[in-house]
């Protein structure tokens, strides 16, 4: 019999639990701009709030809050590069409540400010204002554009997955 400590260190949680934790990750991926409190994520996974963060980290190697931030930063980076949206607007549509928090977190994670990233993107290409070129660029990075397109579509139709509990 494994001891409790070896269980925590080595043993795989059961597949059913991992599958439910994946569901929380999927939901953050699909709507990273939404508020994902530990309570809400724990509910998606069917585990207690007290255990969710630890279980998620154990399964995916990153705490859920940090994971959500990386998805938001990824999305913000794409919008900075591929759209002319004002940075304030980008902060808002990627899920931050204030421009200040967005700028600070963005710099903490990427090491650069949103405006610096945009400036580089502008100097990298001569055709940012040509929409087809933007779409062409975006199409070459399917992982990055999925969430962006999803958001645009969601914003356009105001619909949502039936399983999604909007906050």
């Amino acid at each position: 019999m494994p001891t409790p400590s070896s269980l925590a260190a080595d043993a795989q949680p059961d597949p059913g639990l991992l599958r439910r934790l994946l569901r929380a990750k999927d939901r953050m991926d699909a709507a990273s701009h939404e508020a994902w409190s530990v309570q809400r994520l724990a509910q998606v996974s069917g585990v207690s709030s007290a255990h969710f963060a630890r279980l998620f980290r154990q399964a995916f190697g990153i705490p859920p809050h940090r994971y959500l931030l990386t998805r938001r930063i990824e999305q913000a980076t794409t919008l900075l590069r591929d759209t002319n949206l004002p940075i304030t607007e980008i902060a808002f549509v990627t899920g931050w409540e204030s421009l200040g928090t967005f700028g600070r977190t963005f710099k903490d994670i990427t090491g650069r400010s949103p405006s610096a990233v945009r400036q580089d993107a502008l100097s990298d290409t001569s055709s940012l204002d040509r929409v087809p070129a933007c779409y062409l660029k975006a199409a070459q990075r399917p992982d990055l554009t999925t969430a962006v397109s999803e958001k645009r579509r969601t914003a356009a139709t105001g619909t949502n997955q039936p399983s999604t509990t909007k906050e």
């Binding site: 795989q12 597949p15 994946l22 991926d29 999925t146 397109s149 999803e150």
Partner: protein
């Protein structure tokens, strides 16, 4: 463009790992509309493959990790990988992504991404009950 019924050559079976073969069968046959090709048991071991109705030359294996193929530690790792969504992506081609989406959603298929237009093609994402991720793609030019 076709890769079906090539009259001899080609890939015949590709397998997926699933946690529960009954559950997988209910999903792939009952919801996605596949057909059972082979369902044979030998003790606890069960060889189970399904096929797409329009692709009779290809079988999708729905296999569980475990003996006699895997030792228990390996089986446990495989089960965890599937449940964490770490297995390679799968792609299902459909003539009409939005129609298929509506139909499957109503059957309770767990979508991770609603249909999105990309240059004329439309794709959506879903998972099977075990955690295997599928992209459902309507090619550009189809049904348009």
């Amino acid at each position: 463009m076709t890769n079906q019924g090539a009259g001899g050559g080609g890939v015949g079976v590709v397998g997926l790992y699933v946690d529960d073969q009954d559950e997988a069968l209910a999903f792939y046959v009952g919801k996605l509309g596949f057909r059972v090709h082979t369902d044979v048991r030998n003790g606890a071991y069960r060889w189970l493959t399904v096929q797409h109705p329009q692709q009779p030359a290809f079988q999708l294996g729905l296999f569980t990790p475990g003996p006699p193929i895997h030792d228990e530690a390996t089986a446990q790792t495989l089960r965890a990988m599937v449940a964490k969504g770490a297995m390679p992506p799968l792609v299902l081609h459909v003539p009409d992504c939005r129609a298929a989406y509506a139909q499957l959603r109503d059957k309770g298929v767990e979508f991770t991404q609603e249909p999105v237009d990309r240059y004329g093609s439309v794709d959506a994402g879903f998972r099977d009950p075990a955690g295997n991720g599928w992209k459902m793609i309507q090619a550009a030019g189809d049904a348009r």
